[in-house]
Symmetry: C3
Subunit: 175 residues, 3 copies
């Protein structure tokens, strides 16, 4: 009964019924433009008092890796190669018009020129604003990643069911 009024509100954003204004995002994509959307939505929601939870899974796990560039992380040669191909946050492609890496650069240029935060700045800001960052247990298992491979701001490693329960009563997006 996560939405019942007879339970204490779980945080200060809760309404009369104990329902929380909450945005939860399953960040599956590793594309630069989609990750920008993840953080822009998260930051916007935080600005108006929402609780924001981001669950990084599969390609999205790149975003919270310690090592930002391409690196051989992983528990065996195959996952190491996979990790290298995926790259880190600086290597994320756009979902269209990647042009061997030029796409993200154009975006970064446009964003900086227009004083809009870049993805790296958005990640920093997300951490500063207290957005909850979670890593997907199963994807870590498949890709051979450990909690130590991620930035320390990652709050917890969760299973999908736990994340869905955490997201109850709010808006949940798959990006």
């Amino acid at each position: 009964m996560p939405n019942s009024p007879y339970f204490a509100p779980r945080n200060s954003n809760a309404d009369f019924y104990g329902r929380t204004e909450k945005l939860s995002i399953i960040a599956f994509s590793g594309d630069f433009d989609k990750l920008t959307a993840v953080f822009t939505l998260g930051m916007g929601a935080t600005a108006v008092g929402y609780e924001v939870n981001i669950f990084f899974t599969f390609w999205g796990l790149d975003t919270i890796k310690q090592k930002r560039g391409r690196a051989f992380i992983g528990s065996n040669w195959l996952t190491k190669i996979f990790g290298f191909m995926m790259g880190g946050l600086k290597a994320t492609p756009t979902s269209r018009f990647n042009f061997l890496g030029a796409g993200p650069k154009i975006f970064r240029y446009l964003m900086r020129k227009n004083n809009v935060a870049t993805l790296e700045e958005l990640v920093e800001a997300a951490k500063a604003l207290g957005i909850n960052l979670y890593a997907c247990e199963m994807a870590m298992h498949v890709l051979g990643l450990k909690k130590e491979d991620f930035i320390p701001e990652v709050k917890d490693v969760l299973g999908v069911a736990s994340f869905l329960q955490l997201s109850e009563g709010g808006q949940t997006l798959f990006i």
Copy 2:
């Protein structure tokens, strides 16, 4: 407290608790097949009395541009080139099997042959049915687009936070 029963329902679709049956879509993709999904979902929901809000952002902004074909719109050469590459509604690729533009043509053919509305018809119908179309402020800023670049049916330019608040209490999809 957007869901509180003590507030007047915001529209006639509201239930006993003042909650609205509502579908909100963040239309991020510029792919033909995904845009078809956006409008098909929106139209279907409208047909059964839902309030439908569509928030166009990034590649999705193509859909609501005045100029339908490829055109140089934007405030400087770089955004002009970006706008040209993105093209207008007639230039949207499918997310798979694009074949240099053949993909959407096959879809259009299949849809017309089966008396299913084409994307252009869906946009027209969406406007006629009173689906609320919004443009994303930040994406417009980054891509150098102004409200005048869009079709007049665009109801408003909104920030992401405002759109999320508008979407409270309904189903929200990121497409």
Copy 3:
């Protein structure tokens, strides 16, 4: 008023207010990695007592086709070719790093090596666990598919509006 407390709960997962803990997924994508996400989310939610509904549409319809490999299914030559290009469940590409079919193989290898269920196993398990599988009426119409082309576990053919109504009061994802 699907969320009203004065209506009988529709299933045993319903809370005090008759609201159901429910996960609904619009499975639009035909990509191997995204389909894995669909079933992983569905299975995880089922494990903690959620009602899970999956609505297969467009590329996602591949997943529930009888014939698993590439096959000429469809009512005319054009939809037959389309069906062949799409292939069946064994032919789904990953959304990145497909390498002419190697991507899914690497995933399958990684998943099997780590004792995580493969996509085929997830589909089997989903059926066994009573996850509700639906096919999108309009997409079937456009692609020339009939109910007989799908696995018998498909519960029903639905329009988008009916699926959205079925999803009311839960978390709905577009994947």
